[in-house]
């Protein structure tokens, strides 16, 4: 079994299943904070999927997008936390 076939038929379905499970929590999430961390984890798994695609198609330039995803995940979580706390304080 070549590396490309292994990644395509075993690793990608595992990662897709993980995305599906996280998305269930994103829909269920009792509070807004649960949804924020689900979104964070979705983007983090997205980085991993980009890495696997980059090996399969032999395209290292996909990594720039993975880097931007890492930046966006951090910024969005911090911004959500900031406005969550600020909104509560002004009440």
């Amino acid at each position: 079994m070549t590396l490309e076939a292994y990644l395509t038929y075993i690793i990608l379905p595992i990662l897709s299943l993980a995305v599906l499970l996280v998305f269930i929590r994103f829909l269920l999430g009792p509070t807004l904070s649960d949804r924020v961390i689900s979104l964070d984890l979705l983007i983090t798994i997205g980085i991993s999927i980009i890495a696997v695609f980059s090996i399969i198609y032999n395209m290292p330039s996909f990594l720039d997008i993975a880097m931007i995803f890492a930046l966006i995940a951090f910024l969005s979580t911090v911004a959500f936390a900031y406005y969550l706390e600020k909104g509560k304080r002004n009440e």
Partner: protein
């Protein structure tokens, strides 16, 4: 040989990410869920990216990969701490079987200042004065 090593590392990474997803779904409390996303998922993504770095053995790509890994390892605990702190102040409930809540009563509900528990009386009074002044104006 190199391919088999990459397969093993990427498999461990995918396994950690799957366990993180299951943990996020099954954990009973928001504060338990944070611990899953910040530890297991970060390790899984780090291992997957390490496999990528071993596949492309050029210096520029490997540097890029390690930049992403270091950035993730630095920012995951920070974002988890920030969102956990904000959620505690907003009032996200703890699990009903939680035994101990150590910061209960140790923070100021209006200014969100955490107290260490070792303040003297004067320091507490100063903080109280600072808090009252904006209200009087």
């Amino acid at each position: 040989m190199n391919d088999i090593l990459i397969m093993i590392i990427v498999s461990f990474g995918a396994l950690f990410i799957l366990l993180a997803a299951v943990g996020l779904l099954r954990m009973s409390d928001f504060y338990l869920r944070i611990s899953v996303t910040t530890k297991a998922a970060t390790l899984g993504v780090g291992l997957t990216l390490l496999g990528l770095a071993m596949y492309f053995t050029k210096t520029n790509i490997t540097t890029n990969v390690f930049a992403i890994i270091i950035f993730l390892f630095l920012t995951a605990p920070i974002s988890a701490h920030v969102i956990g702190r904000a959620s505690y102040f907003v009032g996200v409930p703890l699990w009903k079987k939680t035994k101990i809540d150590e910061i209960k009563g140790k923070y100021d509900s209006s200014t969100h200042d955490l107290l260490s528990g070792f303040e003297t009386e004067e320091e507490l009074q100063e903080k109280g004065d600072k808090k009252e002044k904006p209200n009087q104006e």
